[in-house]
């Protein structure tokens, strides 16, 4: 049954990918990338990775399209059909592909329970999580507790990427293209479109609420800080699209966003340091409460909150950095 879905979805995935690379219209490529992301999420879901599918949904269903369109607005929407010489790259690609395909014949088949990857730590995680941490979602347990160092590292990578975007895009724009016609403000945002504005007004609270649900329900179902951060950021981006950048920045000013980015990463680190002060190792949550299971749960909730705050801040900072660069804004 899974195979049937896989055949369908994966084949569509490959066709879409070929089309993305082939088209010379970058705008079309971005639209197809949206379809690609939807297919990817459906695939993850079919392959039992509900948490990953939710992350892909939260990131791919809005934020990545918005970012790519923002970049296209600042560069060019068409790729010139150029005199690329495709033969050498094609040869390189085919040779590499043949090598890797040959290597796949040694891979265990899909779903093989005896595959090496299922033999080592994973069974321990699955059998010990109910005893040690007592939360149903093992993915959250691994993310927050067993591999907390990794996640801290990832949070700092995201943090560094945001700082990089802010550095690269916050310099002065080259002079000459900042003249703005006097009647420009009429086209700012989608304010004068009644239907999207009202529907957006209805939906934004639900999006934020759903983000908070994903954040705090992450121990029991698919969810957690990364997904929640992306969903909440998508809600605020929707607000910015509908009401204009200015209103969104008035609601969440840039210093606040930067504070969110730094604060989230700081909260995560502080939890680790507090663990050290209480006599444990860095990020050893068991010491946070009298009972080690409760301690673990408190630690995971705190660091997930840190992750959620940081991711929201990072994605919004990036979005505003691109939007602020646009001469039409």
């Amino acid at each position: 049954m899974t195979i049937l879905f896989a055949l369908f979805l994966l084949t569509m995935l490959v066709i879409t990918a070929v089309a993305i690379v082939q088209t010379t219209d970058l705008f079309a490529a971005v639209m197809l990338l949206g379809i690609f992301s939807l297919l990817m999420a459906a695939n993850f879901f079919v392959l039992d990775a509900a948490d990953v599918a939710l992350t892909e949904a939260a990131v791919g269903a809005g934020i990545s399209t918005v970012l790519f369109l923002g970049a296209l607005a600042l560069t060019a929407a068409r790729e010139r059909p150029a005199a690329d010489r495709p033969w050498l790259p094609l040869l390189v690609v085919l040779v590499t592909a043949a090598t890797v395909v040959y290597a796949t014949f040694d891979k265990p088949a899909l779903g093989d329970p005896n595959a090496p990857v299922h033999q080592h730590v994973a069974p321990w995680y699955l059998s010990e999580t109910p005893r040690l941490i007592d939360i149903p979602n093992v993915v959250t347990a691994v993310l927050g507790s067993y591999r907390g160092y990794d996640t801290l590292g990832e949070v700092f990578v995201v943090f560094a990427a945001a700082i990089g975007v802010l550095f690269v895009l916050s310099g002065d724009r080259p002079v000459g293209d900042v003249i703005r016609p006097a009647d420009a403000p009429t086209t700012r945002g989608l304010k004068h479109h009644l239907i999207p504005r009202i529907v957006g007004k209805l939906l934004i609270p639900f999006i934020i609420l759903f983000g908070l649900y994903v954040q705090f329900h992450g121990e029991y179902g698919p969810g957690g800080g990364f997904q929640a951060g992306a969903i909440i950021a998508a809600g605020v981006i929707l607000y910015a699209l509908l009401q204009g950048e200015g209103r969104a920045l008035a609601a969440l000013p840039e210093p606040v966003l930067k504070a969110l980015v730094a604060g989230g990463a700081l909260l995560y680190t502080l939890v680790g340091v507090v663990c050290m002060f209480l006599g444990g190792n860095f990020l050893e949550y068991s010491v946070l409460a009298a009972d080690s299971v409760t301690g673990q749960q408190v630690g995971i909730i705190l660091i997930e909150a840190g992750v959620g705050v940081a991711v929201t801040g990072v994605l919004l900072c990036i979005f505003h950095a691109f939007a602020a660069r646009d001469p039409a804004h």
Partner: protein, 106 residues
């Protein structure tokens, strides 16, 4: 009772699948953008109602049914909105092209 529910679900699933399929053919075969949009947006709504309704009958009174109801509600709100936005963007572009075509670009 269970049998009745099952039959009702089957009927709804059948209607939903059929409507979605017809809509997809319409999106593929209709001659212009606006007719394609028309085919897509109407069948999307009815198909979603039928399919999600069918699942809801199977779910019974539970949290899942509530979630399905929420999904249906949000779909019914967002899907026409995006059709509206899309049609609007297309009309805007057409109008702009028509305006810019007769006069030589300055």
């Amino acid at each position: 009772m269970n049998l009745a529910l099952d039959i009702a679900s089957w009927v709804l699933f059948g209607i939903g699948s059929l409507v979605l399929f017809i809509g997809a053919i319409g999106v593929l075969r209709m001659p212009t953008l606006y007719t394609r949009m028309h085919a897509a947006s109407l069948t999307d709504s009815l198909g979603a109602i039928a399919v999600l309704g069918g699942i809801m009958l199977q779910a019974g009174w539970s949290l899942a049914a509530l979630k399905l109801l929420a999904i249906l509600l949000f779909l019914l709100l967002t899907s026409p909105t995006s059709s509206y936005a899309l049609a609007n963007a297309a009309v805007l572009a057409e109008k702009r092209d028509a305006e810019s075509a007769p006069e030589p670009s300055a």
